[in-house]
Each structure stands twice: as structure tokens, then as C-alpha cells.
């Protein structure tokens, strides 16, 4: 049954062209008014006007919000499915309609519609396809037919230049998530009745939580087709319908796999504030110590192959600093450099707040491999310290004005049973030599810092071995140079 009364989901008057207007801004014979009315009637029928949010596109229907007495949001060209996605994640019970034309949906917004459909967003998309850009005056659309003349295809669309018209229902039905995909036509009265049923079903699917529904409506544009309204409908049936078959592509009638999975998720909302504060603050509960003041600023460069634990040794050191109530910065090499090549971490520890986090003149270099000592030996401050992994470094430092400790960290780690912990051996050697971090703190921080808890004991053995090694191999003072000062 066609109602001739104005649906409640329309405003009483349309104020776009002045107060008290009763007609839309659409041209005579345009299909938008018909589609608007079908949608408004369906909103009325399901009683969802208050919770409906209508997403207007860019195109002739940009002003749909002058007509629909619902929540309204006007979207950038082609982006309505993304906007609808954003709103869907906020309001579970909103009825969200994305109303789009062919330039909007099949041209500039192809990515947004494909991905919203592929996520199975529980929204309803009405795609009005009139094979031409209406609002801007009649340029080629992605759905313009081969040979069809438009302002930008004055001699007719050519496949050689412009490609073929896009079938959006065909694309939609290649995805698994959409539950309902149908193409309908406004070519004549019977077709309009079928279109009306499709609009209704697409909206009901959303209200019932069934999933993503997509209805493409072949619609006349007499003005830009340069035909009378009657001839336009005839042209639509004779030309558009053969290119865009009018049929149901998919109609599962039941919630799709995506909707089912979504319904099964934990429905509990945001956790209480106190729980949030506890969660965010709970990651570190290491007993701290009050250290003796007077620690010179430590600028430590840890360097080695990617995968040797260079970055994590730096993090361990910085965590020890926090536990001693000190300021710390940790700056990594990162990105592609970190994967496969050399890696280094710069750590600064200070009793005062730290300015630049860059370590250009380290007070200590912890070198895990040969290239690292080659690269950074020269930058160590006079009187500074080099702790080098002698398992992989076959030379002593060339500098005579620095202290150094050659410790076979990889071999020690291997002997204990976990070669990957050579970094901890070297760090512990540094701690044993400099008196920072306190060995006790290092031992307390390791269980918190390690992700693999089964390796805690092995790592603590690394610390013991390093301390023992340093005790047995005192670090030689440099030939002549002061200790590093701030």
C-alpha cells in the first residue's frame, strides 16, 4: 500500500528554500524524493524515529537533513560509512542510515564502503545509482554507461579511457559479511513497490541486529540525462537495468557470522574509575631504596647486534634508576635499524632532571659485539668506562685514557645455560664496577622487568657470575685521566 500522507519521519515543512515549504529541492522526476519517502515510511513503521541517525552524503542528497526529522549528520564526500562506523561503536541501539550516491559511494568513497561492509557493520546503506553526477551538473560517474554522454564524456564514456561501469552489488556480494545485498529500480510502479520492500527489509535487518544491509536503487535523473521524467524512466529500464541486473544478490535473513560474534562479546561497559587507576598504576611495585647521594650523571651507550638484548639491557638499567629514585631517560635506535642490523640504546641516569636524552659522549660504553666498540669507543669521555663482551670482541680498547673490562659475557651466559643473557652479564659487570645500580636493586628489578618469568633464576645467576668476575678481575685505572664528572 502506498501512503499519500507525509510520513512522521519527515519534517512538517522543508525550510531549505524558505519557511513553510512543502516540496523538496529535488528536480521534477528525480528518484531521491521517492527513496526518501520509502525510508521515512519504514522509519515510521518500525517506530524508530527518535533513535535514527541519518548520514547525509555529498551530492544531490546533501540536504537530506532538511527532510528527515531524525538525528542528522552530514559527511564528507564518500566517508559516510566510516562516519557511521564511528557512531555505531558509540550507540548500540541507534538506527544508522548511510545514504549515498554513485559518485560518493562508488567513486571517492570506495574504500570506506568496502571496509564498512567487510566489517559487517550493523548499518543500512542506501545507494542511489543514477549513473551521473547530479549536483555538480552532469559529469561522468563510476556507474555511467559505456557510450553515455556527460559533461566529462562529451563523446560518450569509453572503456578504453574510463574503464567500465562498476557494479557495486556485485562487489558487495563478493564479501562474506554483508547479510543483505539487493539491487532495485524505480523504473515503474511495480518496481517501486519492490524497492519499497527492499528498503524496509534493509532497515529491519539493522533493527534486529542481523547485520550489514546494502540496497542499490537505480534512479532516474531526467535533468542531467536531458530527458523528460517519463522518458527517463523508460531509458532507465532499457539501458541501466541491462547493465545493472535488478535482483537480490544475497538475503540470509539471519544474523551473519560477524553479528553473531559481536553479540557474543562481553557486554560490560567501561570499568569503574578506581579499577582503571589501579590497572594503569599497577605495573611496577618494586621496593625502592634511598641511595647515597653524589652519583655523577651516568650516560650509558649499550650497543650490539639486533637481537642481543641491547634495548632491554637499557630498559633494565633505567628501571633500576627509577627504583633508586633517580631520573632516567632511555632512547632507542628503532624501526628498520632495529631489525637485523645494529642496535643501540642511550640511557641517562641523573639525580637531577635530564635535558637532552642524546648520549653523544658516553661515560660508559657497554659493547656486545665488535662493530659496537669500533663505532663508539672514540666517543667515550676520558676516564670513562668500556665494558666489552670479549666472547665476541677480539681486541682490547685502543684508548689509554679510559677504564675497561673485557668480560666473556656470551661464554658465561652459555655456561650458565642461556646464551641470550649476555646482556645481563655485561650490565651486572657495569653495576659491580661503578656501584650503580646497586646489585641488590638489580636483583630486585630483574623479576619485574623480565617477560619470561621462567628465566628469572638464570638471569640472577648471570648477575652473580658477573659480580664474581669483576671481583677477580679488577678494572685497571686509565694511565692518566680524571674520573668522569657531570
Amino acid at each position: 500500500m502506498i501512503k499519500h500522507k507525509k510520513p512522521d519521519a519527515f519534517y512538517d515543512t522543508f525550510e531549505r528554500k524558505g519557511a513553510g515549504q512543502q516540496t523538496t529541492h529535488y528536480c521534477p522526476g528525480c528518484g531521491h524524493g521517492t527513496v526518501h519517502k520509502m525510508i521515512a515510511e519504514a522509519i515510521d513503521e518500525f517506530g524508530v524515529r527518535d533513535r535514527t541517525i541519518f548520514c547525509s552524503p555529498v551530492g544531490c542528497s546533501v540536504f537530506a537533513y532538511y527532510y528527515f526529522d531524525t538525528g542528522n549528520i552530514q559527511c564528507a564526500h564518500g566517508r559516510a560509512p566510516a562516519v557511521a562506523t564511528g557512531m555505531r561503536r558509540v550507540h548500540d541501539d541507534a538506527v544508522i542510515i548511510s545514504y549515498q550516491g554513485d559518485g560518493d559511494l562508488a567513486g571517492i568513497g570506495t574504500a570506506e564502503i568496502i571496509h564498512a561492509a567487510n566489517r559487517g557493520e550493523n548499518i543500512t546503506v542506501f545507494f542511489v545509482n543514477n549513473a551521473i553526477y547530479g549536483m555538480t551538473g552532469g559529469q561522468m560517474a563510476p556507474t555511467t554507461l559505456i557510450g553515455q554522454q556527460t559533461l566529462t564524456t562529451p563523446t560518450g564514456r569509453s572503456a578504453a579511457t574510463d574503464g567500465n561501469p562498476i557494479g557495486m552489488c556485485e562487489l558487495m556480494s563478493a564479501l562474506s559479511a554483508p547479510v543483505y545485498v539487493e539491487r532495485v529500480s524505480l523504473g515503474d510502479g511495480n518496481r517501486v513497490l519492490k524497492a519499497r520492500r527492499a528498503v524496509r527489509k534493509a532497515l529491519k535487518n539493522q533493527i534486529d541486529g542481523v547485520g550489514f544491509s546494502f540496497v542499490e536503487i537505480l534512479s532516474p535523473c531526467p535533468i542531467n540525462w536531458k530527458l523528460t521524467p517519463m522518458d527517463a524512466r523508460k531509458w532507465l529500464i532499457e539501458n541501466l537495468e541491462p547493465a545493472f541486473p535488478v535482483k537480490s544478490f544475497r538475503d540470509t535473513g539471519t544474523p551473519g557470522a560477524v553479528a553473531t560474534a559481536r553479540a557474543a562479546r562481553d557486554p560490560s561497559g567501561p570499568i569503574p574509575d578506581d579499577e582503571m587507576v589501579r590497572l594503569l598504576g599497577s605495573q611496577s611495585e618494586i621496593e625502592t631504596i634511598d641511595r647515597v647521594t653524589g652519583l655523577p650523571e651516568q650516560r650509558v651507550k649499550v650497543a650490539g647486534f639486533g637481537g642481543q638484548g641491547v634495548l632491554s639491557a637499557g630498559i633494565l638499567l633505567a628501571n633500576c634508576a627509577i627504583s633508586e629514585g633517580l631520573h632516567a631517560t632511555w632512547l632507542p635506535s628503532y624501526g628498520p635499524e632495529m631489525r637485523g642490523g645494529t642496535a643501540n640504546a642511550s640511557v641517562i641516569v641523573s639525580e637531577e632532571s635530564i635535558g637532552s636524552p642524546l648520549v653523544d659522549e658516553p661515560t660508559t660504553l657497554i659493547a656486545l659485539n665488535g662493530p659496537s666498540i669500533d663505532a663508539f669507543e672514540g666517543s667515550v669521555v676520558p676516564g670513562g668506562l668500556i665494558v666489552a663482551n670479549s666472547s665476541l670482541i677480539d681486541r682490547e680498547p685502543a684508548r689509554s685514557d679510559v677504564r675497561y673490562c673485557m668480560i666473556p659475557a656470551s661464554k658465561i651466559a652459555q655456561d650458565i645455560g642461556f646464551q641470550g643473557a649476555a646482556n645481563v652479564v655485561l650490565l651486572a659487570a657495569y653495576a659491580a664496577i661503578e656501584g650503580f645500580p646497586a646489585i641488590d636493586i638489580l636483583r630486585r628489578v630483574i623479576p619485574h622487568a623480565l617477560k619470561k618469568k621462567n628465566l628469572v633464576d638464570l638471569n640472577l645467576q648471570m648477575v652473580d657470575a658477573a659480580v664474581e668476575f669483576v671481583a677477580e678481575h679488577p678494572v685497571a685505572a686509565p694511565s692518566a685521566a680524571p674520573l668522569p664528572v657531570r
Partner: protein
């Protein structure tokens, strides 16, 4: 108890205490840890995380979620923020509140993943088409990445604007101790939003004003809002400015380096000071003008990882004083000594 974390991770902690409920993102180095932490924390605290198909989609999801009344955010780096330009303009036009984090890398184009501050003009001057601004906070530590992000949601809602956290690859990648605030912020009532209720049914989110008179009125209203922001939220930090005749101006990572440089100059008896903007829109131009007009400042050195973008704003604020531009590009970050060397060199060129 402080926790050691990356600036990028601190952003997510700040967002959660700031009351953020919806994160829409797309991965990009050096900002990806923000998406990683959001993907971890948002769902398990009953919030929402969604990886968008592009930054274009992400900013439009934000348009939808913000229009629906949520506290929402995304994070990216220059190439991604470029893609968001359209959405940012619509958000400004429709006066929606949201928070965007830009962890700057070197550009133009694909550039590289090392720090630059060369998104300054794009972000501070708007980024998209039309007459609008974003509020722009510039953190210089992991702690500020947390605190400014939390605060950003309040500012976004207060003025109904986009608030940027304009960071850089070092501030994002660097780990520092962070104290997580112990109270959670919440969004105010938003009667203008689309609530899918009878009370909000009349609401319309749009940026169209078809008549020139309406568009003019709207744009002047936005302008008044930006002026109000300048009066109310302009923020900066000063170090040794009381008697400084040489003033360093820098933000983000370069402000950290300049702090070290200024401390070294002071140790040598040079009366140097540092003004560090914490907001670059609104810009502390009035304070800079005061320091020049009423203080002993004789020259200004603006240290930036771009070709002098903020220096333009400093020179506008203080037209009577010599503004030296100390710039590094391509992801090269100077040491404090290199800053001092270039400062001496520029001063010698007078």
C-alpha cells in the same frame, strides 16, 4: 610509583585517565606503539579500539564518534595526518571535539622515521581547507605525553575543537619514568550531540552554511573561540628568563636539548634563558613580546627540526629583535654542543 614507559605508551595511559572511550587508528612508524597500547588497553577497560582501513577512514570514524558524543582520538605521523586534512576541516567546521596525536617524522613525502618538527605549519596553521585552527600542545617528555593527552580531552570538550598533541619521534620513542594521574576525567553532558534519543533528535552535525551571511557568522564565531583560547589556555615554561639577554625558544625534543645548552651557557657565565611553548596554538606571543619589550632580551635563538617554522611566529611576536634560526633537517638531531656551536656562529654573523 613511577613507571618506565615510552612517550607513545604514556599517551594511551593519559587518554584513559582523560576519559577517552574510542580509539580509531592506522599504524605508522614512529607512532605505532600508541595503536599497540590502545589495542591492548581500550578493549580490556571496556573502551573501543578499531583499526581503520586508512587515516582517511580513521578521522571520519572520529567525526562520527565525536558527533555521537564520545571522547575519541587517533594517533599518526606526518603522512597519515596529511591524509586526515579533509576530516580535520569538517571536524572544525562542525565544531566537534577530538584528540589527535602526531608523532612527527622527517618529510616531505615518505621521508624517514627519524625526528623532525616539520609538521608545525600543517598542524598549527590548521592543515585542511578553510578558516580554522586546532589547539596544539607540544610535550617534551613521556610525562607530558601522558598529562597533556589527558588534559586535551577536557580542552577539546570545553571549546569543541580538535586538540593536537604535536610530538616527535624521540619524544614518542624515548622511555622515561611516568607518574600516572590517579583520577579519571569524564566528558561533560553534550546536549548538542547525536544521542539517538528523542531529546537529541533535532540535532544536526554539519559544516554547511549555504548563505554567505551564515558562513560569515559561523567563521567569526570560530575566530572568537580561537581568541578566547588564546586568552585562556596559552601555556609555556620559562627557565632563567629573569635576566636573560639571549633567549632560546624551542619546543618538544629540541627544548630538552636547549635546556642542556642553556645550563652549559649559564655555567660559563652567559646570561641565557629558555622559553618553551607548551602550546603552539595558541602561541605565547604576548609573553615573548613582553620579554623583549620589558626585559633584557637582545637576541633570540629559535631551535627547531624544520627550516624555521616557529621562528616565523617568534619573529612576528618580537619584530624588534634579531631572531636567529637554528635548524636541523632530515631526522638529524643536534647535541647540546652542536646547538651552542651554531648559536655562536649565528651570533657572530651580526
Amino acid at each position: 610509583m613511577k613507571q618506565l614507559m615510552k612517550g607513545n605508551e604514556a599517551v594511551v595511559h593519559g587518554a584513559l585517565v582523560g576519559g577517552a572511550t574510542h580509539f580509531f587508528g592506522y599504524p605508522i612508524t614512529p607512532a605505532s606503539e600508541i595503536a599497540h597500547a590502545a589495542a591492548d588497553f581500550f578493549p580490556r577497560t571496556g573502551r573501543h579500539f578499531l583499526q581503520a582501513e586508512s587515516e582517511v577512514a580513521a578521522i571520519n570514524m572520529i567525526y562520527g564518534a565525536a558527533g555521537a558524543g564520545a571522547r575519541t582520538m587517533t594517533a599518526s605521523s606526518g603522512p597519515g595526518v596529511s591524509l586526515m586534512a579533509e576530516g580535520l576541516s569538517y571536524i572544525a567546521g562542525a565544531e566537534l571535539p577530538c584528540v589527535i596525536v602526531d608523532v612527527q617524522r622527517a618529510g616531505p613525502g615518505l621521508g624517514n622515521i627519524w625526528p623532525e618538527q616539520s609538521d608545525y605549519n600543517m598542524v598549527v596553521k590548521g592543515g585542511g581547507h578553510g578558516n580554522y585552527h586546532n589547539a596544539v600542545y607540544v610535550p617534551n617528555s613521556a610525562q607530558e605525553m601522558c598529562d597533556m593527552t589527558a588534559h586535551a580531552f577536557d580542552i577539546a570538550d570545553r571549546y569543541r575543537v580538535t586538540v593536537f598533541i604535536l610530538s616527535d619521534a624521540y619524544i614518542g620513542q624515548m622511555m622515561e619514568p611516568v607518574e600516572i594521574p590517579d583520577s579519571v576525567h569524564h566528558a561533560p553532558a553534550k546536549p548538542w550531540a547525536l544521542g539517538a534519543t528523542s531529546e537529541t533528535r533535532d540535532n544536526l552535525i554539519t559544516s554547511i552554511h549555504m548563505s554567505t551571511a551564515d558562513q560569515a557568522a559561523h567563521n567569526w564565531k570560530l575566530k572568537a573561540k580561537y581568541d578566547q583560547m588564546e586568552a585562556e589556555i596559552t601555556d609555556w615554561e620559562e627557565v632563567f628568563t629573569d635576566d636573560a639577554d639571549t633567549l632560546f625558544v624551542a619546543f618538544g625534543i629540541t627544548a630538552r636539548i636547549c635546556l642542556t645548552a642553556v645550563q652549559r651557557l649559564r655555567a660559563r657565565g652567559v646570561r641565557a634563558g629558555l622559553l618553551r611553548p607548551k602550546t603552539v596554538f595558541p602561541f605565547p606571543r604576548t609573553r615573548i613580546a613582553e620579554l623583549v619589550d620589558q626585559g633584557p632580551v637582545r637576541e633570540i635563538a629559535v631551535v627547531e627540526l624544520n627550516d624555521g617554522m616557529m621562528a616565523d611566529d617568534v619573529q612576528l611576536a618580537a619584530p624588534s629583535v634579531r631572531v636567529h634560526r637554528l635548524n636541523w633537517l632530515g631526522g638529524q638531531v643536534p647535541t647540546a654542543e652542536q646547538v651552542l656551536e651554531m648559536a655562536a656562529q649565528k651570533a657572530g654573523q651580526r
